[in-house]
Symmetry: C2
Subunit: 234 residues, 2 copies
DNA sequence: ATGGGGCTGTATCGCAGGATACGGTGGTTG
DNA sequence: CAACCACCGTATCCTGCGATACAGCCCCAT
């Protein structure tokens, strides 16, 4: 049994009082292990600190850039704008995560955009400055590889679950992934049905419908605004 | 206008004679730039060569392993077996590509399986042996990062297109990606409708139907067994 | 020569999810 | 306090995909 705080705006009833308190908290869909963070911070003097206002763009899809970012505080939404104008939310990167390394290292235009959703502080690294650091600290290269490969894993897993047509499977994948971000502590995630729809490739209406159905089937439960996953391996 | 050789078993007619000749050729959905390949081959004495029989398993989903592989010749199918038993084909990795680095570097169990579809030769590297090489040759670390990030890009792109519900968009994404593997030369890709279905998350019947429709709409064409993409940017 | 297996082509049926619309509720802004 | 906005809940309609079944074709093994 895993509990994740899903601050949905209103779940079959009026807003609970605490929800308005929770909203401004930082809610990320990602976290890195502390040893990875420590290894990266060992080299923070290679980068330079940047502060972002709410809704400020960090980088845009199509840009050419060799920069990547360590998020020190705040929340960065990474997404892809499709040709038809709709948005696919890839991740909400919170403090202690890395973003933008994909296009920085493969030297091709950005395949996603990143924008701060709340005032944020990031450390900007340039790939060209890393070669010396790699020579002195091979661990650093290993750590960056580890991060890149972790993202591969998440993307592959999401891809796998996208081949299921039933929205229920897609939503459960999202919730289980959120629960894995930090299974020990209770973290809060604030998503609208619209955002869930955009992350799972369904429609807003279907998210509402599916959440109802999942609750009726007992696969998820709501306690106040807290979403509870019921898993086989209890 | 881009042409890719898609050796479909039979396209509205009897098998063309040349198709039976083409079949044994190596048909991969991936290729790396030659400078990347050269950089990796500089360190090939770190790895050891392994030969695989047809349908031999290289690694299995769930395994714990710090090994990754450079494909010297042959063809490796990388796929995920879903809980319901169905298979999602991620890639067909041909000569000059890398596979298995995802789980090798992030130190978690394999999220995919890899099996040779034809007799193949791979070079097996262990991540633990790389630290020294990274110190001597920072470029090596950069190149591995580039490969890992390229895969991120492909996976993100596939994820993006999976959010489209129409099978037509999903198929076109696959074809365009295949065409990009090597736009200059004409490469052959041999896929059954079943495999296409498994790569795009639709059913076999729908693939057949959609191919018909795309041809009627003029978005693709067939010349013998060669599939021709008609793009806007002609 | 013959039968079996793998693949494509096609038809039918049922149903789930997208599109759309509208109402309700709470928060926000001035 | 009032008007507006963002979000959730729900109903209706309809398209289009999945499941299933079957036929035809080619290749290959025996």
């Amino acid at each position: 049994m895993v509990a994740i705080w899903l601050a949905l705006w209103s779940l079959n009833g009026p807003l609970e009082h605490w929800q308005t308190n929770v909203k401004p908290a930082v809610k990320s869909t990602w976290r890195l292990q502390s040893d990875i963070v420590r290894c990266i911070l060992r080299h923070k003097e290679l980068g330079k600190r940047r502060t972002l206002r709410a809704s400020e763009l960090l980088y845009n899809q199509g840009d050419e850039s060799r920069h990547f970012y360590f998020v020190e505080s705040g929340l960065i939404e990474v997404s892809i704008i499709k040709i038809d104008g709709t948005e696919v939310v890839l991740e909400l990167m919170g403090a202690g995560t890395i973003c933008g390394e994909g296009a920085a290292f493969d030297k091709l235009p950005r395949f996603s955009r990143a924008a701060a959703t709340v005032p944020s502080v990031v450390i900007e690294f340039a790939t060209g400055d890393l070669m010396n650091a790699f020579r002195e600290d091979g661990e650093f290269a290993m750590t960056l590889l580890e991060v890149a490969c972790l993202k591969q894993r998440i993307l592959a897993s999401r891809l796998e679950h996208m081949t299921y047509r039933e929205p229920a499977s897609r939503l459960m994948e999202l919730f289980e992934r959120l629960a894995e971000v930090d299974p020990s502590s209770e973290m809060t995630v604030s998503l609208t049905h619209e955002q869930i729809a955009s992350m799972t490739g369904t429609s807003r209406v279907t998210v509402t419908r599916t959440l109802q159905k999942l609750r009726e089937e007992g696969k998820i439960g709501f306690d106040g605004g807290k979403l509870i996953l019921r898993r086989e391996d209890d």
